[in-house]
Amino acid sequence: MRNAIRIGLLLAPGVGLVLAFMGAVLYRAVAQAFGLYDFSGTSDGLSLAHWQDVLTTKRFWRAFQWSAYIAASSAVIAVALAYPIALWLRKPFRGSLILSAMLKAPLLVPGLVAAFLLVNVISYHGFVNEFLVWAGVWAEPRRMQNDSNGFAIIGLQVWKQMPFAFLLLSGAVQAIPDPVLNAAQDLGAGKFARFRKIILPLTTKAMQAALVLIFIGAAGDFSFQTVAGPPSVNSMASYMASLQGSEGDWNGAAVVAVMLMALSLFGAIGLTALVQLITRTLGRLA
């Protein structure tokens, strides 16, 4: 009993504070989504009216789909790029140190600055357009800022998040001892068999963690969307900020917040399950 109190006291300023704060924030979001704490003062009681208001707009559903699309593509591409590089750099060789340092460089650049730098380069008469037109690849400059596929944002997300995926994955890949791989090879496993039967299952957790963290980060993105995204569509975060900021609709913003958290949760579960499935399937192949 005394011990439990002691542990409690030790945890209070750390975990306790975090849980109190995040719990209050979470409760606030859910409560406001269901009509409580209505600052406009029109109605203050449980209601689904705000869900009705938000969920019937095209703007919300486009934002929802857009964020889901951007988050899923960014997570998958970032991991798909980071994974082979982490495997390749598993053992050091000449130049591999410089390379992994350069791979981590985007961690140094704040996201907003990265977005600005990119917009600068891909603008209508920016470097890329001028260069490709000069080189004769494109007949005329292209409007990459208004790209409805969101390639610029996905590119930025991948650029910013790949180092993170790389750190997680290379940690996991490097933790596989050489003898284990040698043993597999010795027992007749070729390169691909070693990958799918040993490396993949042993790095599944790291891969899931990387995918989930990137997905959640990208689903909640605001800065890339507002600086480099196509202006005709919102991300969940920018829609939420616009509802709360420009229109003073806190309750509508709360509905979007709850949906964003749901998107993060289900996206995370989906990606985790997908990785599990792929690992299993590949492992079962004879």
């Binding site: 001892p177 003898p179 284990v180 040698n182 043993a183 597999a184 090879q185 010795d186 027992l187 007749g188 496993a189 070729g190 068999a193 039967k197 040993i198 299952p201 042993l202 004879a286």
Partner: protein
């Protein structure tokens, strides 16, 4: 079963020569140990045989077929690793079944082999567990079973017992030897423990600085070491260097006799247990260590100290003068070492 022939194997790492032209033949069904201090090249040679390292020179053949260029997965060998290298995400049974599945052994044959090995190695209760849940000795057995499951002609052991405690080590060592006889594979076994090597092997290859100093049956190696290195590494040896004239060398202890041709600068050695009490060699007792069945006695004369092993009943004290002799057949003349 397989007969392995390695010819003139050399391996270079940058400017460092890890192996400098090694020849080795392991007869079908024999147990060959690669013995030597760390850095002698024994593990390098094992990795060349397994295929993890490409030799910069030389060739390997199994049953007359050249395998030098084959990747490890295509060779008819299986390795037991020092760290066991079990697959942490697979159960014991799946670990054992890994090799047969890779080699596309029929499903029921795989099951049969796994069952057999699990039973043979006393792992029946553990087949469904993950490796982390097992003790060191059990893990070692799983590693062994996993290697044997591919029914290899050649099993390679990389210091498999070095992570076990002394008692378990003896037990597993005997099991390995028994299995090897039962199953009938050719074994190449790397160790730095000379007792292990002597106890297990049909042939011991003692390696030093990238070459095989001497190979032969354990008795051969022990009783007829060819070089000072071999004499020193295997068991204990008393060494003397000097002029051999008429089969006799004079040392501070007295005159030693030896059945060897004369020479100006000859090195001879004898084993502590070759000494007999009483005779014309003598020295002062410097230290005594009672070992039960025998006593180790350290005797000095002038600058030299030798070690004698005498029956346990003998009661000597420090400061006594001890008279002893060494029969000429117990004294061996050594060649200059290849690496001297």
């Amino acid at each position: 079963m397989a007969r392995l022939v390695a010819e003139d194997i050399a391996v270079r790492f940058g400017t460092f020569e890890a192996l400098r032209g090694v020849d080795l033949t392991a007869e079908s069904g024999s147990f060959v140990t690669l013995l030597g201090p760390s850095g002698c090249g024994k593990t390098t040679l094992l990795n060349v045989i397994a295929g993890f390292l490409q030799p910069s020179r030389g060739r390997l053949a199994v049953d007359g077929k050249d395998i030098t260029a084959l990747p490890p997965e295509a060779r008819d060998s299986a390795m037991c690793f020092q760290s066991y290298a079990l697959f942490p995400h697979l159960s014991v049974a799946d670990n054992i079944a890994f090799g047969p599945r890779q080699k596309r052994v029929a499903r029921d044959e795989t099951v049969r082999r796994v069952d057999g090995l699990v039973r043979q190695l006393g792992l029946v209760d553990h087949a469904g567990k993950l490796p982390n849940a097992l003790s060191g000795g059990q893990q070692q057995r799983v590693a062994l079973a996993r290697a044997l499951a591919v029914a290899p002609g050649l099993v390679l052991f990389d210091e498999p017992l070095s992570n076990l405690d002394a008692k378990l080590r003896d037990q597993v060592r005997n099991e390995i030897r028994a299995l090897q006889r039962d199953v009938g594979f050719t074994a190449i076994y790397v160790t730095h423990d000379q007792a292990e090597a002597l106890a297990l092997s049909d042939m011991v290859c003692l390696m030093n600085k990238g070459v095989i100093e001497q190979k032969g049956a354990p008795r051969d190696i022990y009783f007829r070491p060819r070089t000072r290195f071999v004499a020193d590494f295997i068991g204990a040896a008393n060494l003397h260097r000097g002029k051999l004239c008429g089969g006799a060398m004079s040392t501070p202890l007295g005159v030693l006799h030896c059945c060897h041709e004369d020479g100006e600068d000859v090195e001879i050695c004898w084993r502590p247990e070759a000494a007999r009490l009483g005779g014309d060699l003598s020295g002062t007792v410097k230290a005594v260590a009672f070992q039960g069945a025998h006593v180790d006695v350290f005797v000095s004369a002038g600058p030299e100290t030798v070690r004698l092993q005498v029956p346990g009943e003998l009661n000597v004290s420090i400061g006594d003068t001890l008279q002893f002799s060494v029969p000429p057949e117990g004294v061996i003349a050594l060649e200059a070492s290849a690496n001297a």
